[in-house]
Amino acid sequence: MRLPLVLLLVAWAAAAAAQDARRSGYADMGPALRAMQDDDAANPASLWVLEGSALWGARDGAAQRACADCHGAPETLQGVAGRYPAFDAKRASAVDLAGRIEECRTERQQAPPFGRETRPLLALEALVVRQSRGVPLAADPALAAVASVGETLWRQRIGQLDLSCAQCHDDRAGLRLGGTPIPQAHATAYPVYRLEWQGLGSLQRRLRNCMTGVRAAPYAYGSQEYLALEVYLARRSAGMPHEGPGVRP
């Protein structure tokens, strides 16, 4: 009884994937890199997950509270990462996962924020994201307005090379740039261990990378512009399974 149901589900997923022209960057990687991402024992992001697990249980700040004191085991956050960026009712704005962790840190733990792209923040982010593997990404409907700002930024030509994100990642995805395949830029695996960085980095770092690539002045980490782009990308990738923390060349 159960096996035919599973087969039916697999067939349905395969059919759905066949209709979906969207490709995760994972599909464009070589077999060695795909194996590296799939095997937790070989995926270097596991080192950040390990560090995140240690931080998860560590009491900190004036409140002397650990993540575990409120949330319990990290597994309770299963699927949560797929819902970010989300609408933060208290601030009436969008908040991404890193921002949410920082908010927890400053408000609940009453500790100084880690700061964007710092090792402990990425470690906690990697730990939370690992709990959402395979969960489809969901776009928060409350962020429609922010998503349209993000789409405007996505289509805006920037930098000395006068290129927009869309010109490469929508119009020329699948072609090559200097011998490297241009991916469709789906934000399905962040934070990623990028071989070029020899470390873990967030989506904002990746966006910064593209911005400096077209010789534009990058936005500041945590800025509203990056957030809007993250919201738009989440909408663009909605329904695709979360792979994070992934590996990318």
């Binding site: 937790d40 024992a41 070989a42 270097p44 596991s46 080192l47 390990l50 560090e51 020899q198």
Partner: protein, 107 residues
């Protein structure tokens, strides 16, 4: 300091069966040949030795060089006659020490 090394292997293996042990250690592996933002060379900071021991007896050790990428990944095959605790220890520049262990049972 403690949460720096990872070692993965099957929890149970058959006697004499070849299985793979995979290790990862968080380390920048700074080569000593790269100039920093100020133009001066960044001093070398690498893992120099990785040693694997079973229940305290060293099985093998390897020397590591600046040509190895950050967060070194080392995998090796092995067999066991009886179960034990496999310990991997990394030592490096500036007093770097990391250790990870895993218990493997033999059926």
């Amino acid at each position: 300091m403690s949460a720096r090394g990872l070692v993965s292997a099957p929890a149970r293996v058959k006697r004499g069966e070849v299985f793979e042990v995979k290790t990862l250690v968080a380390h920048p592996m700074e080569t000593g040949f790269r100039p920093g933002f100020d133009g001066r060379l960044i001093p070398r900071d690498i893992v120099t030795r990785m040693a694997v021991s079973l229940d305290g007896a060293e099985l093998f050790a390897m020397e590591m060089s600046p040509a190895i990428a950050a967060n070194p990944y080392v995998a090796f095959p092995m067999t066991l006659e009886k179960g034990g605790v496999l310990t991997v220890e990394w030592r490096g520049d500036n007093g770097f020490v990391a250790e990870a262990r895993i218990a493997i049972a033999v059926a």
